[in-house]
C-alpha cells in the first residue's frame, strides 16, 4: 500500500502565562491509502493537537511546532505556505470535528455551507454546486435532501448535523479524512448509525481515515490499526486485533481493564488506574505513565522509553516487558 502521510518526531508546545505546555512530545506515525488508523487516549493526551498541528490549524502564538515533519506525498505540510495549505485542507485532507453544533455556522443554511467548498475548491457554479450538495446529503443518508438544503443547522438533530459535517468533508473526495471524536456527543444508537455510515463510505470511496477517540469500544469495530497516546507520547501502536488481544503497554492494559463490558456478567470490581494524568507544564523527564504504573522500575522515572517494535508491526514505548514483569 502507498504511504499517504508520514509524521516524524512532531513536537508541539503552547506558551501560556503559566509556562510551557508540553502537548506533543515527539510523535511519529504513518497512514497508508485506504487504511483506518485510530488514535486513542484520554483528554489532554495530545491526540487532537497532533492532528491540528499537521493541518496547521493551531494559532501561533500560543502554539509552537518545535520540530518535526509531516510528509504528504513529497511535501512537508509543516513547511508549506498558508496558501498552499489552503489547497490541501478540505480538498486532499478533510476534517470532521466532535461537536457538530459549534462547527456549523448557525446563521447560514446547510446548503450554503455545503456548497461553499464545492465553489471555492472545485470552482462549481451555484446550480451545479446545489445539485452536488443534494447528492452528498443523500449519500450520508439525509432523507428528503433537496428540501432540507434550505434548512438551518438548528432544524437538524445532532446525528443529522454530524452527517452534514461528513458530507462537507466528502465534498472534494479527500484521500484522508481526519475525524476528531465524531461520535462522542451523540447517543449510542445514533453513534452506531454514524459508525456504519463511515464504514460504508470508506469502502465506497477508498478513503483513509484517522479516527480520534477516547473510546476503545468504538475503535475496536472500525480501525485497522490503533495508536495509543498518553501525555503527548505514542505509547503503543499495533494492528487492531493485536492491541486488544495482546496489549503490551501497562497503560493500554490498564485502560482495557478499567472498561466494564455490556456483554458479560460482572465478575469483579473495576480495576482503576490510580492517580491522575501528569501535569503537562513540566518538561517530561521519564516515562509519563511511570507514577501511575504498577510495573514501574527505577529507570522509568528518568529515561523516556522510545517506541520500539516488539513483534511485527506491534510497537511499544516501555522499559518493562509486561508479559514477564521484568525489564525488556
Amino acid at each position: 500500500m502507498t504511504m499517504l502521510l508520514q509524521t516524524i518526531d512532531l513536537k508541539t508546545r503552547f506558551h501560556i502565562p503559566e509556562g510551557t505546555v508540553y502537548a506533543v512530545n515527539g510523535v511519529s506515525f504513518h497512514i497508508s491509502e485506504g487504511e483506518t488508523l485510530a488514535v486513542v487516549g484520554e483528554s489532554g493526551c495530545g491526540k487532537s493537537v497532533t492532528m491540528m498541528s499537521i493541518l496547521r490549524l493551531l494559532p501561533a502564538p500560543p502554539a509552537e511546532i518545535v520540530s518535526g515533519q509531516a510528509l504528504w506525498g513529497n511535501r512537508d505540510l509543516l513547511r508549506l505556505s498558508e496558501n498552499e495549505m489552503e489547497q490541501i485542507r478540505g480538498r486532499e485532507i478533510a476534517m470532521v470535528f466532535q461537536d457538530p453544533m459549534t462547527s456549523l455556522n448557525p446563521v447560514l443554511t446547510i446548503g450554503r455551507q455545503l456548497t461553499e467548498s464545492l465553489r471555492v475548491h472545485l470552482g462549481m457554479g451555484p446550480a451545479e454546486a446545489a445539485q452536488r450538495a443534494v447528492e452528498l446529503l443523500e449519500q450520508v443518508g439525509i432523507p428528503d435532501a433537496a428540501h432540507r438544503l434550505g434548512d438551518y443547522p438548528h432544524q437538524y438533530s445532532g446525528g443529522m448535523r454530524q452527517r452534514v459535517m461528513i458530507a462537507m468533508a466528502l465534498c472534494c473526495h479527500p484521500s484522508l479524512l481526519i475525524a476528531d471524536e465524531p461520535t462522542t456527543a451523540l447517543d449510542v444508537t445514533i453513534q452506531a448509525q454514524i459508525v456504519e455510515l463511515i464504514k460504508k463510505l470508506r469502502d465506497q470511496l477508498h478513503m483513509a481515515i484517522i479516527w480520534i477517540s477516547h473510546d476503545l469500544g468504538v475503535v475496536a469495530g472500525l480501525a485497522n490499526r490503533v495508536m495509543v497516546m498518553y501525555a503527548g507520547f505514542v505509547v503503543e501502536e499495533a494492528l487492531v486485533d493485536d492491541l486488544y488481544e495482546d496489549p503490551r503497554h501497562p497503560y493500554t492494559l490498564a485502560l482495557l481493564a478499567a472498561l466494564p463490558r455490556v456483554d458479560r456478567r460482572r465478575d469483579r470490581r473495576l480495576k482503576s488506574i490510580p492517580g491522575a494524568p501528569p501535569n503537562l507544564l513540566v518538561e517530561p523527564r521519564g516515562c509519563p505513565f511511570a507514577p501511575r504504573c504498577e510495573f514501574a522500575m527505577e529507570r522509568c522515572r528518568f529515561e523516556i522509553p522510545p517506541l520500539q517494535p516488539v513483534q511485527g508491526t506491534h510497537a511499544v514505548a516501555c522499559w518493562v516487558d509486561v508479559t514477564t514483569g521484568g525489564p525488556r
Binding site: D187, V188, A192, Q193, D241, R261, V262, L270, S272, I273
Partner: protein
C-alpha cells in the same frame, strides 16, 4: 415502616414542562412531556439504573422524584415520607436530609467562589448537624478522606481541582447529611475512562460502608451493567422495560432495549465484527408531540397497526421483569 419496604416508591409520576410564546403575555402553546406516567420502586440498599438516550426524561425523573421540580401528577415517598405533601419547611428538610443528589457536571455543580470547606459543610449548616464550627470542619476533613481527598485541601477553590476530584467533592457534599438515598445523575459521563473506574469503585465502597441506596442515571450501558442491581430503560418519557440486571442484559424483551444494547460497542475487535447489529433508523421524536400508541413505533422493526393506536400496558412478564410492548408474549 418495616425495613423490607422499598425505600423509594414512585407512582404514576408525570412532569410536563410548558412551552410558551410571546414576550410579555406568555401564552402556553404546548407542553413537553418529559416524564409521562412512570412507576417504580427502589429497594433498600440496591442500585437501580435508569438508562436511555438524551431527552428520554431520565434526568427529569431523578430531579422530580426528589422534589427539585414540582410534579405535574403522581406520588413519591422516600422512606415512608410523602415528598410532595411536605409543605412545612421542617418536613421538607427531613426528606432532603435523607435524599441527596450528585450531578453530572462537576464544573457547574460547585460554587466557584466557595471553598471546599464551605461547599461540603453546607448541608450540615442547612440541617443543623454539628452546630459547633470546629466539629463541623473536622467532619468535612473526615468526609474528604472518605472520598479519597486530603483533608488539607479544605481551603482550596473548585477550579484548583481536576474533574475527577471535583466529582469527589460533590460526593462528599452529598454524604454530609448522612443520607439514605442518593440520586447519581450521570456522575461519570464527564470523566475520562481511567477516572471513571475510580469514581465507580468509590461509590460502591461508600454504598457497602453506609448501606446507601442509589438511583444511578446514566447512558453508559456497560457501566450500568457493572454497578446496578436492577435496570430501568426509558424512551421518550416513558419506561419501556425494567428488570434484574443480568436478566435484562441477557434477555432484553423490548425492541428498544434490544437495539440499545446492540448499539453498544464491545472492546474486542473480533467479537465486534462478528456481531449482528440492530441499527435503528431515524432519531428520537420530539417529546412536544410524541407518537401515538407506543412511542417507539415509528422506529420499531416489529411495529404493527395495534402499536400505532394503543398504548402498551406496563406489565410484569416474569418475576421482577416488567415491559411495555404489545409484541412481547404473555
Amino acid at each position: 415502616m418495616k425495613p423490607a419496604d422499598p425505600l423509594v416508591v414512585v407512582k404514576n409520576l408525570k412532569k410536563y414542562f410548558p412551552v410558551t410564546s410571546g414576550l410579555v403575555f406568555q401564552r402556553k402553546t404546548g407542553e413537553v412531556r418529559a416524564v409521562d406516567d412512570i412507576s417504580f420502586t427502589v429497594e433498600r440498599g440496591e442500585t437501580l439504573g435508569l438508562v436511555g438516550e438524551s431527552g428520554c426524561g431520565k434526568t427529569t425523573a431523578g430531579r422530580t422524584l426528589l422534589g427539585l421540580y414540582p410534579p405535574t401528577a403522581g406520588h413519591v415517598t422516600i422512606d415512608g415520607m410523602d415528598v410532595y405533601a411536605a409543605r412545612r419547611r421542617r418536613d421538607l428538610l427531613a426528606i432532603r436530609r435523607k435524599a441527596q443528589i450528585i450531578f453530572q457536571d462537576p464544573y457547574a455543580s460547585l460554587n466557584p467562589r466557595w471553598t471546599v470547606d464551605a461547599i461540603v459543610s453546607e448541608p450540615m449548616r442547612v440541617h443543623s448537624i454539628l452546630p459547633d464550627p470546629k466539629a463541623r470542619s473536622e467532619r468535612v476533613k473526615e468526609l474528604l478522606s472518605l472520598v479519597g481527598l486530603s483533608g488539607q485541601l479544605v481551603n482550596r477553590f473548585p477550579h484548583e481541582f481536576s474533574g475527577g476530584q471535583r466529582q469527589r467533592i460533590g460526593i462528599a457534599r452529598a454524604l454530609a447529611s448522612d443520607p439514605l438515598f442518593i440520586v447519581c445523575d450521570e456522575p461519570i459521563s464527564a470523566l475520562d475512562v481511567s477516572i471513571q473506574a475510580q469514581v465507580v469503585n468509590l461509590l460502591e465502597d461508600l454504598q457497602d460502608r453506609f448501606g446507601l441506596t442509589y438511583l444511578f442515571i446514566a447512558h453508559n450501558l456497560s457501566m450500568v451493567r457493572h454497578i446496578c442491581n436492577r435496570v430501568a430503560v426509558m424512551y421518550l418519557g416513558v419506561m419501556v422495560e425494567l428488570g434484574e440486571r443480568d436478566e435484562l442484559y441477557d434477555h432484553p424483551l423490548h425492541p428498544y432495549t434490544q437495539a440499545l444494547l446492540s448499539a453498544v460497542p464491545i472492546p474486542n475487535p473480533k467479537q465486534d465484527r462478528a456481531r449482528q447489529r440492530m441499527i435503528l433508523s431515524g432519531d428520537v421524536p420530539s417529546p412536544l408531540n410524541p407518537p401515538s400508541g407506543c412511542r417507539f413505533h415509528p422506529r420499531c422493526p416489529l411495529a404493527v397497526e395495534r402499536c400505532r393506536q394503543e398504548i402498551p400496558a406496563w406489565r410484569e412478564v416474569a418475576t421482577g421483569h416488567w415491559v411495555a410492548c404489545h409484541k412481547v408474549a404473555e
